[in-house]
């Protein structure tokens, strides 16, 4: 029948139109998604031994900020970022190294001499001298560099830094 033939032909055309649209959409859309998130997938690790300076330059009993920079290639460009750790030498042999990055949302904590605690300026977290949480929102103590992440070579203090 002409009529029913017509209708099924219409349906066919509708189907094809939809399919063609979907194919073009997918052919552009899927690569586009990958295109946009690619840098996140390829973010390179930055693990390396980082020298912090001569061990003897850190005063015993006082947390001292040591900063260092790491450069990574981001896309076409080399980016230099700075990181900080607090070095606390409790004795000639014992050294405690804490990351200065607040475990809440990553602001930088400061050592407050009067209160003898680390204070995060963002949401007022407080950490004790050993990095333990005294108050505020942080879920865990300050990150520590311990054991095989620390070494002393020729009087120089090195830590094994894991970026990313």
């Amino acid at each position: 029948m002409a009529g029913s033939h017509n209708i099924s032909r219409r349906d066919f055309v509708k189907l094809i139109t939809g399919a063609v649209g979907a194919i073009i959409g997918a052919a552009i859309g899927l690569p586009a998604i990958d295109y946009l998130i690619d840098p996140a997938l390829k973010a390179a690790g930055k693990d390396a031994w980082v020298p912090l300076g001569k061990l003897e330059t850190f005063e015993i009993g006082k947390p001292t900020l040591a900063t260092f920079t790491r450069s990574t290639v981001n896309g076409w460009e080399k980016t230099v970022n700075s990181y900080g750790v607090f070095v606390l030498r409790s004795s000639d042999t014992d050294t405690l190294i804490l990351s200065n990055k607040c475990t809440h949302l990553g602001c930088h904590v400061n050592w407050n001499v009067d209160k003898q605690e680390y204070i995060c300026p963002c949401h007022d977290a407080q950490f004790g001298i050993n990095g333990e949480v005294l108050g505020g929102p942080p879920p865990r103590p300050l990150d520590r560099y311990t054991g095989d992440q620390v070494q002393v070579t020729d009087g120089k203090l090195l830590i094994y830094f894991r970026g990313g």
Partner: protein, 219 residues
Amino acid sequence: MWKKLFAWLDERLALNELYKATLDRPEPKGNWWNTLGSASLFLFLLQGVTGIFLSVYYTPSPDHAFDSIQYIMNGVAFGWLIRGIHHWGATLMVLVVFIHMLRVFVTASYKYPRELTWLIGVGLLLCTLGMGFTGYLLPWDQKAYWATTVATSIAGSVPIIGSFIMKALRGGTDLSALTLSRFFAAHIWMLPAVLAGLIGVHLFLIIKHGESEFPGKDD
């Protein structure tokens, strides 16, 4: 002469019909609170115009973004005005859009038949906030850099997929040239495109259903 020209154009563009459909519409008795939506639209257009002007000199790279803004502020004639309007316009736009939403809530204008208009409106609010968030990084100054560092690590606190979202926002593990260029793209192309599209639908729905009347005692 003018009449003829108008008739000729009308024949082809249906100007009269357009005029009737969009401008010569009946409206319920007006209310000053109802001007806030068009004020938001005005601010959006103003942001668009000043933003386009800013992009003439602005350079989205960590080496040059800051200097190009300094140049806009101090070097170019009326650069301070264009940037000043864009800067404060962003603040006012957030404020006006939010109060517009409150007005719609208080007069219960989101109820039948305007549910969709509200839904689109929430999308508009989010896009506006997104514009503010992405625009904040563009001057590449201390405030911009560190606020964005912390804001993106907020996304990183989501369980499981958080660190992926953070890297996708930043385009890597840290803020870098990639972050700036993707924020720039979002700020001047993607979000404005979405905003413009949503505004189009928003306006269509408003014309279709008319502005709601101020609720009376028996409504």
